[in-house]
Each structure stands twice: as structure tokens, then as C-alpha cells.
Symmetry: C2
Subunit: 152 residues, 2 copies
């Protein structure tokens, strides 16, 4: 099973863009500051998201990243898939040669679990996730903090 901070960071960053893309492209520096993720680390992640056609980039001042497609069209699973090797609970990655080139005793069990996770995360769009009450609340708090920082 692969679901590390890498995937979590990618989803968080996509949340941030979805919440701010009305004001044009969102720079990685802004995401870094708001979400507390190192800029260099984000720079490593975003080419992967772009490669999957989830975001598009604009260079130069005022540039940044924006969603390549509507947030309803992006599933959480897509984001994780983009940055994480494989979202799979089986050991063999579905190839079913777990033990001695045979499907291991427990293969079906992990396959079932993988399917469960996958369908759950495929069923949640970025738009849905972001519309969550708590997300909006935290987001507005981050807005205020940002403003305060700018004032000081």
C-alpha cells in the first residue's frame, strides 16, 4: 500500500489551487506558505501532476499553476496516482505472482481491499472534497493569516 505524505501533500496542494484559482494561477510559493509544505518539495511534485493533465502552468511573474480541467472532473485518486508509484494493497501489484510465481494465499483479500480504496477515492471529486464545511473554515483562517503576514 502506498499512501505517504507525498500523496497527502499533492492533494493538499490541489485543494489550495481549487480554493484560489478564481484569482488566476496560484504560485507554488503561495501554496508553500499557506500549507506549510517546502517549496522545493512542491516543485518536485507538480511536474507529475502536470504530466497527468491535472494542472497547467504559466511561467513568469503572476504565473503559477491552475487546474487543467474542472475540479468536478478530478478525482482524489487521480491526484494520488500522479505522484505515488502505485495505490495498491497487493504485494505483487496485481500481477498475482506473489509467492513462488503463484498467487499467494491472501491475494484475493488484498485485491478486494485495493478495489475498495480505489473506488472510494475515485468517487470523491476535488470539487466535492473542497466543498466540505471544515475545509472552507480552515481555508478562510489561512486567508486571514496571509493578510496579517502581509501587513506586518
Amino acid at each position: 500500500m502506498k499512501l505517504s505524505t507525498r500523496g497527502r501533500y499533492a492533494v493538499t496542494a490541489m485543494f489550495d489551487i481549487a480554493l484560489h484559482h478564481d484569482k488566476g494561477p496560484v504560485s507554488l510559493a503561495d501554496i508553500s506558505e499557506r500549507q506549510g509544505i517546502s517549496l522545493a518539495y512542491l516543485e518536485q511534485l507538480f511536474p507529475l501532476l502536470r504530466g497527468r493533465g491535472l494542472v497547467k502552468s504559466t511561467r513568469g511573474p503572476g504565473g503559477g499553476y491552475s487546474l487543467a480541467v474542472d475540479s468536478e472532473e478530478i478525482a482524489i485518486a487521480d491526484v494520488i496516482d500522479a505522484v505515488e508509484e502505485s495505490l495498491d494493497a497487493t504485494r505483487c501489484g496485481g500481477s498475482a505472482d506473489c509467492q513462488n510465481h503463484q498467487r499467494c494465499l491472501t491475494h484475493d483479500l488484498w485485491e478486494g481491499l485495493s478495489g475498495q480504496i480505489r473506488s472510494h477515492l475515485s468517487g470523491i471529486s476535488l470539487a466535492q472534497a473542497v466543498s466540505n464545511a471544515h475545509v472552507r473554515e480552515v481555508s478562510s483562517r489561512q486567508e486571514h493569516r496571509m493578510n496579517r503576514v502581509e501587513v506586518i
Copy 2:
């Protein structure tokens, strides 16, 4: 998220016991041979399973491990819980202080995922999992291999 070979091995070993416990306690040496898991590694795992009241041990010749309760009463989640630190998709482990001592933007999302996984694995008993057709097939193949080894 924590689901490594550790948890997989534990489940596989429990499968093995469930499939053979009619012939009395199952030794770790047998499990090791049948399932291709290092004996020393199993010895590390089983005290944890015993601590959770999933298996009981009998020492001495002819000894080994047997199920402490009926296989219908053991959920796959119990087995994984016993050997794996936490089966949780959130970063903070549910404590909700993910970022700056606040629930992070994506907290609810990971919490939802954790719940999904947990309820899935809690809903499958060892008995159910073992009754799977493929499991029985592989198991009988292992039986034959064991016999052949003994003959040679």
C-alpha cells in the same frame, strides 16, 4: 497509512493456522515452510498476536499456535492491528493536530478513507476469508508440496 508485509505476513500466518488447526497446534516452522516466511520473523510477530488474544501457544514437542477464539470471531482488521502500529490514513493518527496544531485542510478526507478501510477489514472474518475458493485451492497445493517434501 500502514499496511506493509508485516501485516500481510501476519494475515497469511493466521490463514495457515485456520486451515490446519483441526490437527492440533501449528508450529511456526510449518508455517514458515508452507508460506515462505522466515521463522525468525514469525517468532517476532506471534507474541503480538498472542498479546491481542488471537492465538494461544503450546510449548514443547508437538506444540505450536492455535486460534484462541473461533475463526468467525477474528476480523482481518484485528490481525493487522496486532502487528502494525496503526491502520490509519491520517498523518496525525486521528489527533487532528496535523498542521500548526490545527486539523489540516485534508484531515476529513483521510479520516473518511481510514473509516472505509477499517470497516471493510472489520467486516471480513478469518473464517470468511479462508473459505474463499482460491484460498482452498492454493492450500491443498501446499499440502501436496509438503507431502512430497517429506517423502523425499
